[in-house]
Structures are given as structure tokens and as C-alpha cells.
Subunit: 94 residues, 7 copies
């Protein structure tokens, strides 16, 4: 099975980022908005979205920073994906 | 009886997705937004919706991921449907 | 007396839908948004509404599904009507 | 003294609608939005309102249904009026 | 000192309206939105305001009804003025 | 150091306005929105701001009335400034 | 690793601003919105953002005042950055 996102949506897969103190203690995520790194898995076609022309600027394989609380988690074939709008992607990591 | 959706609306029917732990315990759905898989039953004509041109991109029979808390549940002839806007459909599963 | 709705408004009359369990107990409506079936009684002229061109897509006599908490209840000559915007009508039942 | 409404505003005067039970007890208005009947007293010129072209569709003397909690009450020469936007008028009673 | 309002703003000065019962008791203003009468002192130039063309329709000396909780109170040379947007002026009293 | 505001922003410096009763007691500012007088220190270039053409109408040295709770306070070289959008400036005092 | 911001986004790095009383006590930040100074690290391409043409007005190396609670903190290679929209940058410090 494969996800084909609609409009300006992008399917991404979160990359693990360990948040460990120097003493080795894993910190629980705070209540604050926590950005994350993810890999782009599939990219929607863009075009007219909500009455506005959207041009897709990310491509499959890009490593991106996204706003964690945006988007929707999807589980498919035991893999977890996140579907976000391209506008929830803040930057590409190069 | 048949539902003919207006504007950019889409009639979908949820597909059961079992959420069972390895030990076989069924998990109650969390408070978090839980996306679901559904089958498209009927598609509105699109066109001008709220002053914006909308082109329908899903078709009857498509399996789609939608945002669960969007949409309205409708019971017709003992079948349960959900009527969502196309913009609440995140991706097509292929 | 007759109601002539303005703009994109539609006068509808709710059709009774009994919600009874198999044991015959009438269930109180839940807090959740409950869609309902109604018959279209009168249709506004459409045209420019809030700066957007609206074309009316329902006609008198149509049976429609509408979002219950939208609209305004009106009592006229001891009959109860609901005045909704066309955008609160989700689908036509055929 | 006379009120000349600006833009898409309409001056209306509420018509009394008695809400009495069969036993003759006057019911207090519920917390729910209660539409009312009113007579149109004066109509604004319409035209560009908030960047949108508005054409006035009601005229002096029309009996209309309006959404009660919209609008502003005005007392002038011991008469009480309500000033509403035309979009708060739901239908004309004919 | 003189106030020159910007854009679609209008400087007005509230006219006293006594709210006294027949028995002579001054009533405290209720929590409800209370419209008031005011005199227009200065009128902004209009033109492009928030991306929309606004034409000024009131002039200095007009007596107007405005929505009390809109606007900002200003004290200048011991006189109290209110600065409102023209859209907060409901009607001219003639 | 000097502040060069972007877009439709304006750097202003509040002018002291004493609020003292006749008996000489300084009154604490009420919870109500309190407009203030300020001097314009620097003016942004205007132009396209949030998709709308903005023409700057105030200039350095103008005394203006602004809405106090709008804007952001900035401390630079021990001087306190406020950065507001031009639309938060209500009037020029002449 | 390097961050390439999308659309109208800007990567900035906060500059330390000590907030110490004369007696040498470090003050905790108040609940109020606290602007800060930062250095621009990377600038997005601008262009069509949310249906509006955005022209980038800051450049790498600029010292800017930004609204602290806007933006998203990102940690990359043990350096902390903030990604903001250009509209959250209030002024350039020259």
C-alpha cells in the first residue's frame, strides 16, 4: 500500500532525534511546540488549494524540519507516517 | 435511497481498522485526532464552493485517509456514512 | 403567510426520524452534532452573497441532509421551519 | 427625528409575538437563539460594504424574520428600533 | 490641539442621553451593548483601508448612532472624544 | 543603534500623560484599553504588506494617538520604544 | 548541516540580552510578550506565500528585533535556531 497525498499535502516519516541529557537521562518532551526532523515520503500535486495556487517546493527524500503539532499521524502496514500541509514544513536540512 | 452530496462534499464509509495490541487487547481510541481509512461512496460536483473553484480529485471506490473529527455522520437504511469536504481527505491509499 | 428567504438561504422543514433502540426505548440526542433529514420548503434567489456568487442547487420538495446546529428555527402559523444557508445542506437524498 | 442607516444596515421595529402556553402562562425566552418578526422602517443605500458590493433586497414596510441576537437596539423619541445588517435578515414574510 | 483621524476613522463626541426612570432614579447601564448618540468632530480621508476602498459617508456635525463598545476613548484638552471606524457608525439621526 | 521598521510598522516613543485627580492622587491605569500619545521615531517603507498595498500616512516627528495594547515594547540603548503597525495609529494630533 | 527555510521563513539566532537590575539580580521574564534581538542566519526565497506575493526584506547577517513568542525553536548540531516568518520580524537594528 502507498499513500498519494492530495493538494498541498506531504507524507513524511519522523526521524528519531534523541533528547538525552549529558548524564544519559532521556527527557520527556515539554509542553512547548517541539519541531522535528522528518524525511519526505510522498508529495501532493499542489495546484489550486483553498483558492490559492500552491507550488510544491519539497521532493521525496528531502530531510525537513516540521512543526510537530501540525499534521495527522497515519499507520499503514505497521509504519507510522505523518501527513502535513507543505506550509507546516519550515525548512529543508541540507 | 441514495445520497447526492452538494458542492465539494464527499460521502465516505469508514473501513474497520482494528487497533489491537500484540497481547490481543483492543485499545480505546485516544483523545488525539485519529485518522481513518474510508471508501468513497459518492462525490459532489465541485465547482464554485465558498467563492473558490474546487476540482474534485477523488472518485467512487477510492480508499482514502480522512481526518476523523471532520465531517458529519449520517445513518441511511441502517448504513452509517460520513459526509466530509474534499479538503478533509488527506490522501488516497493505492 | 409564506416565507421568502433572502440570498443563499433555504427554508426547510425537519422530517421526523425516530431513534429507538430494538427494545423500544427512545434515545435522547447526544451532545454530538446530529444531522437530520428535512424537506425543502422555499429557496432563496442566490446571487452575490457576502461578495461571492452563489448558485442554488436545491429545489422545493428535495429531501436533504442538513447539519442540525446550523440555522434558525422559525414558527409560523403553528408550523416550525428552519432557515439555513445552502452551505449547511450536506446532501440531497434521492 | 429619523434614522438614516449607513451601508447595508436596516432599521427594523420588532413586532410583538406572544409566547403563551395553552394555560395562559407567559414563557420566559430560552437561552437559545430566538428569531423574531419585525417591520422594516428604513433601509441603507447598500453599495460597497467592507469591500463587497451589497444590493439591498428589503424595502420599507416589509415584514421580516431576523436573528434576534444580531443588531443593536436604539431608543429614539420613546420608540425602540433595532439596527441590523441586511445579512441578519433571514426571510421576508409574505 | 486637534485630532486628524487616519484612514476610515472618525472622531466623535458622545451626546448625553439620560436614562432615568419615571420615579427619577438613574439606571446603571446594563451589561448589554448600549448604542449612543454622538456628534461627528472630525472625519478621516477614507481611501484604501486594509486593502479595501472606503468612501466616507458621514461629515462633521452629523449626529450619529454608534456601537458603544467599539472605538477608543481619547482625552484632549480636558475634552473626551471617541475614535471609531466608520463601520461602527450605524446610522445618522436626521 | 537605530531601528529601521519593516513593512507598515512604525517606531514610536510614548509621551508621558499624567493622570492625576484634582486632589493630586495619581490614578492607576484601569483595565480598559487606554490610548496614549506618542511621537513617531521611524516609519517603515509601506508597500505590499500581507498582500495589501499600504501607503504610509505618518511621518517622523508626528504626535499620534495609538491603541496602547497594540504593538511591542523594545528597549534599545536604555530608551524604550514601541513598534506598532500603522493601522494601530488612530489619529495625528495637530 | 544547514537549514534552507521555505517560503517567507527566516532562520535567526537569538542574541543574548541580559536583563539585570542595578543591584545585579537577574529578572525572570515576565508574562508579557518580550521582543528580542537576533541575527539572521538564512532567508527563504519569498515569492507566493499563502496566495500572496512576499518580497524578502532582510538578509543574512542583519540584526533584527522579533516577536519572541512567534516562531519555532530548532536545535541542529548543538546550536539553537529560531524559524520565524518574515512578518514576525519587526525591525532591523542598524
Amino acid at each position: 500500500m502507498k499513500l498519494r497525498p492530495l493538494g498541498d499535502r506531504v507524507v513524511i516519516k519522523a526521524l528519531e532525534t534523541e533528547e538525552t541529557t549529558k548524564g544519559g537521562i532521556v527527557l520527556p518532551s515539554s509542553a512547548k511546540e517541539k519541531p522535528q526532523m522528518a524525511e519526505v515520503i510522498a508529495v501532493g500535486p499542489g495546484g489550486m488549494v483553498d483558492g490559492k495556487e500552491v507550488k510544491m517546493e519539497v521532493k521525496v527524500g528531502d530531510k525537513v524540519i516540521y512543526s510537530k503539532y501540525a499534521g495527522t499521524e497515519v499507520k499503514l502496514d505497521n509504519e507510522e507516517y505523518i501527513i502535513v500541509r507543505q506550509s507546516d514544513i519550515l525548512a529543508v536540512v541540507e
